[in-house]
Symmetry: C2
Subunit: 154 residues, 2 copies
DNA sequence: GTCGCTATTGCAACGCGTTGCGCTACGATC
DNA sequence: GATCGTAGCGCAACGCGTTGCAATAGCGAC
């Protein structure tokens, strides 16, 4: 059942953070290219975590000539706009979080390979502990902690 | 001044965990090869953290024919014996901790590139927080948290 | 000291990500 | 719509780490 409470002067399309990308780029002297359009197209269809390799593969479906370096460079740009955030899985591979709502770290289970977000309160605990310890200021977005999930113990 | 309290039936040489490696390997059907001898020689001269790349370079000084894959494989073996422990720096490169006294995680400052150990009590705090959160059992040895040290803030 | 089993080596190829460089084409200006 | 400065592109090479495979060489047994 569609939610009846949404304000809708323009019912046709829901506003998406991706809609403004082209303008946001141009506003800072950057450019809106076919390659970037493709990547954004691909990102639109994702929610949550995706591997850089997956993104490249999907882009190559849209355009067979897609080059990895271009994708990585565009991901950097989008990360500066706050539209994606990357971390590193336990094997070191890059994992992108699309449209992150809040800064958060990740847990990675070496048993089943699943990734979880660290809840904000728990994240805050970690940040505070290390601030108290050495005055260290943690970059939570980049934190991936490896271990075993409840189901994979022993 | 030499500490006068050490028990010394064999004054000549201090017992080192490295002395027993050859036998420990052979005891489990593994072999003591010139390549492994070299790596252990190199590890003897280190205390604390070393990059895999550094170790390979030092090995190559002892033997110009040293191959990376062999070094990595031997490091794996030594890690199983508990003689080294590896983690990943913020850039993903492997960092080995030689003769770790206790399990611990690491902090990496993206400002100055320095690495610190997380103190046991602080580490325990993190482990407990995540156990309480999702029943997740953290592998502290593999944890490297990026951020900025006290001197590199702002 | 010799023999034989198999752990280990070196090599070559791969996967992921980064970087430098010359050429292309975006898009602001007129 | 044509011009032009420069952001971004593709490409080629690099660095780090891993893996499969055929050849080598530890080392335990005799
Ligand atoms: Mn990173
Ligand atoms: Mn690792
Ligand atoms: Zn699991
Ligand atoms: Zn620092």
């Amino acid at each position: 059942m569609p939610q009846p409470d949404s304000p809708d002067p323009a019912r046709a399309s829901v506003a998406s953070p991706w809609d403004g990308v082209a303008d946001r780029l141009r506003a800072s002297g950057l450019r809106w290219t076919p390659q970037r359009r493709n990547l954004v197209e691909v990102l639109r269809e994702h929610e949550g975590h995706v591997t850089a390799t997956d993104l490249i593969a999907r882009c190559r479906e849209l355009d067979g000539t897609t080059t990895p370096s271009t994708v990585y460079r565009t991901l950097d740009v989008l990360e500066n706009l706050g539209l994606v955030r990357h971390g590193h899985a336990a094997d070191g591979r890059e994992e992108y979080h699309v449209l992150p709502e809040h800064v958060h770290g990740h847990l990675y289970c070496v048993g089943c390979g699943t990734t979880w977000e660290i809840r904000p309160e728990t994240g805050a605990l970690i940040v505070d502990a290390l601030a108290a310890d050495l005055g260290f200021s943690v970059d939570l977005t980049h934190v991936t902690i490896a271990g075993r999930c409840e189901g994979c113990q022993e």
